[in-house]
């Protein structure tokens, strides 16, 4: 049975030694294993791009908690991806300061350029588009975050330029972008 097989995978057979080391560090700074949950999800996501059901089961097993409980945590947070995402996840701020300074036009330009809406991924699996609450760059609004990078003072043209630059960089296989 598929499900049984999935839950019985031993965490040490599934998680890489690097993932285990990073999760162990998080466990060591908390009082309970469970308290490392969110950081553990982030560790695995950083290495694998998203949290699959299998990853979720394995992390829960490793933290000695139920998968259902960890799923409750994972789905609570918008920065944990429970579905596959593109290589670049665009987090466009849709909160009030960005709303006042041209968010809608920036969104329209991105949607038109990539031909996807919120929650969707481009066919080449390069971009996923998500909204984000205030990114803390309200004095430089509108703002978006791609990977770890914040892009500020956006205009529709500038947003498309940034995305085009990433598209070009990716066609040129050798250039890796720091995320």
């Amino acid at each position: 049975m598929e499900i049984i097989k999935t839950i019985t995978v031993h965490p040490k057979d599934y998680l890489t030694s690097q993932e285990l080391a990073e999760i162990d560090h998080e466990i060591s700074i908390m009082e309970t294993r469970e308290a490392a949950g969110i950081e553990a999800l982030k560790v695995v996501q950083a290495h694998r791009g998203w949290i699959s059901d299998e990853s979720l089961h394995v992390i829960a097993t490793y933290l000695r908690m139920s998968s259902a409980e960890l799923e409750g945590v994972a789905t609570f947070y918008n920065l944990i991806y429970r579905q596959p995402v593109g290589k670049y996840v665009i987090h466009l701020c849709d909160s009030v300061s960005c709303h006042l300074t041209g968010y809608q036009q920036v969104l329209n330009a991105i949607v038109q350029h990539l031909n996807i809406g919120y929650g969707q991924t481009t066919e080449d699996n390069l971009f996923t588009l998500l909204s984000n609450v205030c990114l803390g760059g309200c004095d430089k609004a509108p703002v978006m975050m791609i990977g770890k990078q914040h892009y500020e003072h956006l205009t529709p043209e500038k947003a498309v330029e940034i995305i085009t630059a990433l598209q070009n960089q990716n066609q040129n296989e050798n250039v890796e972008v720091e995320l």
């Binding site: 700074i29 908390m30 009082e31 309970t32 469970e34 308290a35 490392a36 949950g37 969110i38 950081e39 999800l41 982030k42 933290l63 908690m65 409750g72 945590v73 609570f76 947070y77 918008n78 920065l79 944990i80 987090h91 849709d94 909160s95 009030v96 300061s97 709303h99 006042l100 300074t101 041209g102 984000n132 609450v133 205030c134 990114l135 803390g136 760059g137 309200c138 004095d139 430089k140 609004a141 975050m145 770890k148 990078q149 914040h150």
Partner: protein, 433 residues
């Protein structure tokens, strides 16, 4: 700009924050040294109480008083052996608020020094910085500052020979505004869903892992090294006619020079908006503003002379909140702005209690209708009723009342605009921006 006039920001360097040596050469860690070597914890507590420092996280609760609620047990009592915790709230997700980011990215050692002082005072040996997940640069800079602080024995065992031990860790979160509410934050740190907890018991008595816990905002804590170094009287005299100390004020919207400024507590709204933020962009007029983030009531141009301190802003009918102005101009639709705010609160509601879980999306539905010109006069009544259902005392935490503040005040101040939408069957601003 110097250490006495701009204590919080004079060492801020966003390009490349001071490392431990540089920070120490500028007087850094002297406050912590004084606390650990010259004072007992209860003496530091008295200093902080005397400074009249109030929390900068939004509610303005006196910091010294909050700390004094942490129970102290005799050594004979087993509970005296229990851990206590200090947590820095660096979740900063209130729309229109970006002040803590400046301190986190620009002068991370100041926060570490501050946390040593606070943790020593309340008797905590473990402390956490709870950082929102999107602040990647801050995370990197805090991690490297923490490493330096451990190497220089400002963290770890027997700090600077004082026999005091403190371990300080960084926890990076993964989104959701509600994590900034202090009891939700504690649940999040425990690895649980970040729903707020019922109070009492208050975290000061039973918080993280059931143990006494103090949660303080980044800006609140960052004042401590300076209060220790320069004394409570100096702190009070920064702003003799207002709440004690300086405050990092902000402004954003379609204004000439959006940004952040550390100013004495109690400068007027007009001073921040016109002197520092340069006033409105050309061709635009001031319509209204939220004085302290998304969850504060609107104020009007007639309120520009109001001092930005807790009492004065409250008297004007709003809250100082986080001290960041969100400025509405006359070419942005007030209904659309309120709709955007309510969408935020509806999305970020944790879903625990009915008035908020159901009320915020309901408000969004009605506001959408009005903004699209399909609203009726009854919709205004329904919105007012919702404001009542979601008010303080009827919800499990302060998120829903925070949503009511801009909504209810907009219904009062921008009644004409709401009525225009309803009577004309369209948004009068449509296409203006």
């Amino acid at each position: 700009m110097n250490a006495l006039t701009h204590p919080l920001t004079h060492l801020v360097n966003l390009q490349s924050p001071l490392n431990l040596n540089e920070y120490s050469q500028q007087g850094g860690y002297l406050g912590a040294e004084k606390a650990l070597k010259e004072y007992s914890p209860s003496q530091v507590l008295d200093i902080v109480k005397n400074s009249q420092l109030k929390g900068r996280g939004g509610a303005g609760f006196p910091t010294g008083m909050k700390w004094s609620f942490v129970p102290h047990y005799d050594e004979s009592d087993a509970r005296s052996q229990d851990n206590k915790y200090l947590v820095c709230n660096a979740d900063e997700m209130e729309p229109g608020t970006f002040k803590d980011r400046l301190l986190l990215e620009g002068v991370p050692h100041q926060l570490i020094e501050a946390m040593i002082i606070a943790a020593y005072t309340i008797g905590a040996n473990k402390a956490y910085i709870f950082l929102r997940g999107e602040y990647h640069l801050a995370a990197k800079r805090i991690e490297s500052a923490l490493k330096e602080a451990y190497q220089a024995n400002w963290l770890g065992e027997n700090i600077q020979g004082s026999e005091y031990q403190l371990d300080l860790y960084l926890h990076t979160s993964a989104g959701r505004y509600i994590c900034g509410e202090e009891t939700a934050l504690i649940n999040a740190l425990e690895g649980k869903r970040a729903n707020p907890r019922a109070k009492p018991p208050f975290p000061q008595v039973a918080g993280l892992f059931g143990k006494p816990t103090i949660v303080n905002n980044v800006e609140t804590l960052s004042n401590l090294p300076h209060i220790l170094k320069n004394g409570p009287d100096w702190f009070i005299n920064i702003s003799p006619n207002s709440d004690a100390g300086s405050k990092i004020y902000g402004a954003c919207g379609r204004i000439k020079n959006p940004g952040l400024w550390e100013l004495p507590m109690g400068v007027t709204i007009g001073e921040v908006l016109n002197t520092h933020a340069g006033g409105m962009q050309d061709g635009l007029k001031l319509k209204g503003l939220l004085p302290g983030g998304a969850s504060t009531d609107f104020l009007l141009p007639e309120h520009l002379d109001t001092p930005m301190d807790y009492d004065s802003i409250a008297k004007a009918g709003s809250r100082l909140g986080t001290g960041g102005l969100i400025v509405l101009d006359d070419k942005n639709c007030p209904v659309a702005m309120v709709l955007n705010l309510l969408q935020f609160f509806a999305q970020e509601s944790c879903g625990w209690c009915t008035p908020c879980r159901d009320g915020t999306p309901w408000a969004v539905e009605i506001l959408t209708r009005i903004e699209q010109g399909k609203g009726t006069i009854d919709d205004i009544d329904s919105l007012l009723k919702l404001c009542d259902f979601m008010w303080i005392g009827k919800t499990h935490c302060a998120l829903a009342p925070g949503a009511v503040e801009p909504l209810k005040s907009a219904l009062t101040y921008f009644n004409d605009e709401f009525m225009q939408h309803i009577e004309h069957g369209c948004c009068p601003y449509h296409g203006a921006y």
